[in-house]
Symmetry: none
């Protein structure tokens, strides 16, 4: 019944525009007018389709994260009983792609980073839902790598070491420091892969060192 193509189009256009602007500018810096201008629609359109700026933000966020998780699942397609080293690599690899990826696929990471340092009231719930599982997964892998003698603090520290190497990439807003890439431009997929390789190797060595330390102290 009177399904108008442009109805869906406008909604999607707004969603697209919003995810771009939110990712780039953050919640507070983005105005509804910005989004609508970019989507080529009227200011009232956001409210019509989503109810409020807040609600739009939540939807954009959820969409972006789900899409990114689909494109780069944290298990990298590995079986649950794969070696912990491979699991760690898969985790790091997918996280980096989500955070640094170009286009839509990078929005999730960028929004996430913003939320971490500047949480919008609107989104705490979503945030928790999405970040906790990731942390759990990391934790499990770390546990396997540290062995049975590790205590909570040691696990927690290693968890932070690994995750922070990935998350902090979001700071750079897609730009790597000079020296790593000529001109400090945006990272190519190949560079992201190399970075994942590095972080994995770096972290495995770090974790191994912690493990040895634990075992020495226990004997």
């Amino acid at each position: 019944m009177a399904i108008r193509k442009d109805g869906i189009d406008t909604r999607d256009k707004i969603l697209k525009a919003a995810s771009e602007v939110f990712a780039k500018e953050g919640y507070r810096n983005t105005t509804v007018a910005d989004i609508c201008r970019r989507a080529g629609s009227n200011v009232a359109a956001v409210n019509y389709h989503f109810g409020s700026k807040d609600a739009l933000y939540v939807i954009v966020w959820r969409n972006a994260f789900e899409e990114a998780l689909r494109a780069y699942p944290p298990d990298g397609g590995l079986p649950p009983d794969a070696p912990a080293e491979q699991c760690l690599h898969a985790l790091v690899h997918s996280a980096l792609h989500r955070i640094l990826g170009a286009g839509r696929l990078g929005h999730a990471g960028r929004i996430l980073i913003r939320e971490m340092s500047d949480p919008s009231e609107a989104i705490r719930g979503v945030f928790r839902d999405v970040v906790r599982p990731l942390r759990e997964r990391t934790r499990k892998i770390i546990k396997r790598l540290l062995g049975p003698n590790a205590n909570d603090r040691e696990i927690g520290f290693c968890e932070m070491s690994v995750l922070h190497q990935c998350l902090a990439m979001g700071f750079r807003r897609g730009k790597l420091p000079p020296g790593v890439i000529k001109g400090g431009g945006k990272p190519t997929p190949e560079l992201i892969d190399a970075l994942a390789e590095h972080i994995t190797k770096f972290s495995l060595a770090g974790i191994q060192a912690v493990r040895e330390n634990i075992n020495n102290n226990h004997t």
Copy 2:
């Protein structure tokens, strides 16, 4: 020529209030009224003393950073020819204290983190002036640890690994994940020290692994 004591007081009170609120809420979430209410002065005071919200922000930022650097110098008081391992520890230790420290001394770190993920136009210049030297210092230490065969990319990657483990702490806004500290509260100086210990050890092992890899590839 009596120096207007309370003039200076007001200025200082605003500076103090501003650094607290900016650190906690970020630039855009902070209103001039917030600051002035907290400083016990009136809304016009900010503009009167500093010209604009922007200018106040820049000053707050510079002050906070300089104060933090004085309190926790990145060289930790070590002589320039100290062993690279000690230098790395000093670097990490001071960075963590600047970022996680309680009270005024933590403001610098928190403002820094915010700026990284949400740069205010007002501050790009200051930002560069302040961050680059730190990066240079880190780079030099990494270079010494990696040996003469390391190329720019390898150095850059390790530099990021180390710095990001520190910087990302700012995300947490002073709260560590559960398991590391009971209740996820604010970190004590002791905990910060332990964390510095961990990051240093973790990173040295990571760097060492990278170094071995380099040498293997070169033979």
Copy 3:
């Protein structure tokens, strides 16, 4: 030429919904969306069927009033030459039922009251058409009760005394003051009848007093 049954249905549903909402919330507090939600139709329906919110309001008003007048005619079915006392009672009785009556029949009264204190431009015409005859009828009855010596002011005052006792009930929005009815709830038909009884008796005594006063002054 099948008559679009659901077309009429929609129109009627809107009319019903509108009369309820208008009576309860008043013209300005009612949104077209409110009405359409309640009618189970879409926002465009009001404009489609009635042209505008204003036009719908006018129609609702007229309908409600005519329906109420049919259900409770001001003459109460009395012959024109019935005793003035009975006519007064019939008038009061029907007015109270129109104003306080439950369901559709009360809408007319409630809308009327609202219009009196907050006239919408849209309706002045209708309002006059509908109120004037009532006033005329009241006036005639009062005249008979006051006798031939009453002047316009005396008639007008008594007219107001009687009508206002009825009309002001609309203020209460269907709730009577505590003491009159337990819990201050909505009036039952029996209570309305009792109230009509009271107002009639009260007013007849009042009018009689005015009449005596007139006659004393004239002698």
Copy 4:
């Protein structure tokens, strides 16, 4: 220190403008812009001085009512033990002046009437505080006039009969029906006095009739 005359002036101008517009148009129909235009100030002034439209409304309301009560106290300056007939007259007289009075003194009544038929959420509390005492006073007088045998319903009915004759005048928004005053214009103080006279006499007769009825039924 730096008391600016115009500060107070603006606040007062807004208060004045607001009480006029609110009384004339009601809460919902009045825009902040209307008020400020009338007060010759900026739209932001309302928020600056009063915090919100709601808060302004509450203040206007309270002011208007208090001022009106001061100008026309419900006891009319009578001693508490004055004859009930005189008390009733004083009550009616003052109520009518408050409701029909010209200029500022009439605003209270007009706002009151609006609130009765179209309550703003903002004001329920104030409303109760202000109306209940009046009702109590009326009730006491009625009780004295009805004698000891009256029950709650009889008292309540009479209370309504008296109060409604006064309150409903607010409907007219200052205009009396044709016949009472040439041209249906605004009531003069003299006319208001005459009306008070009428309502008192009318009501005393009504109450007396109710009383006789009570006593007949009790024997």
